[in-house]
């Protein structure tokens, strides 16, 4: 079976590539027409060790009507000051069959006419960098 992304999903991936030109962005088409997207080596700031992580997330076939949630970071991420990662915002889980930290930032007010996968990615990163 040929697996292909839907045009709305392709558009979302293109916007992510454009917003992260220095990063490798991998998008694996899913059987439902969505995609599993991984943005490599994204900076998380000095509060974390390691300071960078991949960010993984699924853009579902129902995008942009469905929100993009959750996001995943590398499993060995920890706070430099030794404090625990906030729970339930950042909890152990899996991404593409591997251990990962799941970042739970649900957008209850998601608006399919205004919100985008890349916009959500920026919001999640801002929360991880400054508020988590």
């Amino acid at each position: 079976m040929i697996v292909q992304m839907l045009s709305e999903v392709e558009e979302a991936v293109a916007e992510i590539r454009a917003a992260f030109p220095q990063h490798e962005v991998r998008a694996t088409p899913a059987a439902d027409g969505g995609a599993e997207v991984t943005v490599e080596a994204v900076g998380l700031g000095e509060r974390y060790e390691p300071r960078t992580s991949f960010v993984g997330f699924r853009v579902h076939s129902s995008y942009p009507f469905s929100q993009v949630y959750p996001h995943f970071l590398r499993a060995d991420l920890r706070k430099v000051d030794g404090s625990p990662l906030p729970s339930p915002g950042m909890t152990p889980n899996q991404w593409r069959g591997q251990a990962a930290i799941m970042v739970s930032r649900s957008s209850n007010g998601w608006n399919p006419n205004a919100d985008t996968a890349v916009g959500k990615l920026h919001k999640v990163l801002e929360w991880v960098r400054f508020d988590a």
Partner: protein, 474 residues
């Protein structure tokens, strides 16, 4: 090939107001239309109405009385080509209940329309209106056809034709009493309808019974599930044998499992119930999930769709079908909140008529993007992400609550098609807070940018076969 036009009431009123301002003169407009092609014919779906300004866009004719100005034709046909829409002109003649094209009109179509067909890559159509009639001349690549009707979709669904249809045959005895309310003509309308019911659980099974007894001619029932014992309190006509299969009294769990494989599907039970009520009904029992492409395609030649399911994905699909294909519908449901201690909260029944002009489920907040995302997850992901609303978790459900919603929705449907709604009736959705016996109208706040009911460039509104439906990949 049968041709027809579907137009939302708001657009029709805009068009009618422009064509019949009360001056007795001729006026013109262009309609940009999506297309829907099914086994029942091709429908032109009005997406936009462009009134032609008198003296500038609609001017004195060189051969006939009036004509569209060449620049206006060029602009609007380019617009249709660029947006993959069909170009339709509309103008008016005098008269009330009968209308037809003049010889000048027909010759003008022959001169200009074949080139417009080539240019836009779509059929090109002319409509001529009288106050309560319309005729149409359709040009396609291979020839020319007459338009059968224009359907105006609002709280009352009106069908305009070139002239009044003949009187209807007397109604069968079985329908005598109801025909006393809406007449033989109303009964004939019901007999000519194809109506879909998506979800044949508590609510859907009641609607099925009502449609069959009303004399609806063709029912399409879609549901993936078989009857379970826990459904017997709600599904009309379902028996223990339907739920348990050929060996209903077997005690051994393994044998019971095997016997259950012979349980009857909900749509098969619905078929039995409908045929008992009306042996003449044409019934299509389709076992499947409406979000599968093959299933959703079956809705597209229906005149009305009832949605009585639990999932947000089916709600999303239904809402897009209504707006993309201009097929009116109604969604029903009931919610019985129960907290962890077992206390019952505010019990709610909902009925939402959804027509192209009003009731959009997205604009009304009835589709949760978060829930839509959750329903996209695989079961193991659901488990890992610790969602409590996992599949197979049964929520409270009671037949009396189902009946409140089903009855209102079926009555709305009946009154829409038989013209029983009073003028200016608004088709608002309603909540019934059952424990307080309160009814509450659901406000309608359409978002112009909505991708379903809005008219922005990303909206699916009236695009018909031009855009894909939100189905699961096949």
């Amino acid at each position: 090939m049968s041709w027809s036009v579907a137009i939302a009431e708001r657009d029709y009123e805009l068009l009618r107001g422009h064509l019949f301002p009360g001056d007795g003169d001729e006026h013109g407009a262009v309609l940009a239309c999506g297309l829907s092609e099914t086994g029942r014919g091709t429908r032109l779906l009005v997406r936009e109405v462009f009134p032609a300004e008198d003296g500038k866009d609609f001017v004195a004719g060189q051969r006939g009385y009036k004509q569209f100005a060449p620049l206006f034709v060029a602009e609007k046909s380019d617009y249709c080509r660029d947006n993959r829409l069909a170009y339709v002109t509309a103008h008016n003649h005098g008269g009330r209940d009968r209308v037809g094209f003049s010889e000048d009109d027909l010759r003008s179509h022959e001169r200009g329309y074949p080139a417009l067909v080539q240019m836009t890559g779509k059929p090109v159509t002319a409509l001529v209106f009288a106050e309560r009639a319309v005729a149409g001349d359709v040009f396609v690549g291979s020839g020319r056809d007459e338009l059968a009707s224009v359907t105006v979709l609002g709280p009352t669904i009106r069908m305009l034709r070139p002239e009044p249809t003949g009187s209807c045959a007397p109604t069968e005895d079985a329908y005598d009493r109801q025909a006393l309310m809406f007449g033989h003509g109303g009964q004939a309308i019901l007999g000519g309808l194809k109506v879909a019911i998506v979800g044949l659980g508590g609510g859907g099974s009641l609607i099925n019974q009502m449609l069959a007894r009303l004399g609806v001619g063709h029912i399409l029932a879609v549901d993936p599930d078989e009857v379970e014992v826990s459904n017997l309190s709600r599904i009309l006509g379902a028996t223990r044998r339907d739920a348990l299969g050929v060996l209903p009294n077997v005690g051994l769990p393994l044998l019971r499992q095997l016997a259950k494989r012979t349980a009857r599907s909900k749509v098969a039970v619905a078929e039995r119930v409908a045929l008992e009520a009306n042996p003449k009904v044409r019934f299509e029992a389709v076992r499947g999930d409406v979000t599968d492409p093959d299933m959703s395609a079956r809705l597209l030649d229906c005149d009305f769709v009832f949605l009585a399911t639990d999932t947000i994905q089916s709600r999303h699909l239904f809402n897009q079908v209504v707006h993309q294909y201009l097929i009116p519908g109604a969604q029903i449901g009931a919610k019985v909140p129960v907290d962890k201690g077992g206390a019952v909260g505010d019990v709610r029944v909902v009925v939402r008529p959804v027509v192209p002009d009003s009731g959009c489920l997205w604009c009304g907040g009835a589709i949760s993007p978060a829930q839509l995302n959750r329903e996209d997850l695989k079961p193991e992901e659901c488990e890992r992400q610790r969602y409590v609303e996992a599949p197979n978790v049964h929520e409270p459900s009671v037949i009396t609550l189902n009946a409140l919603g089903a009855s209102q929705a079926a009555n709305d449907f009946l009154f829409m098609f038989t013209g029983m709604h009073e003028p200016n009736t608004r088709l608002r959705g309603r909540f019934q807070w059952a424990r307080r016996r309160d009814w509450e109208d659901i406000g309608d706040k359409p978002d112009p940018l909505c991708r379903h009911c809005g008219r922005g460039p990303k909206s699916a509104y009236a695009r018909g076969d031009g855009v894909r439906l939100p189905t699961r990949a096949g």
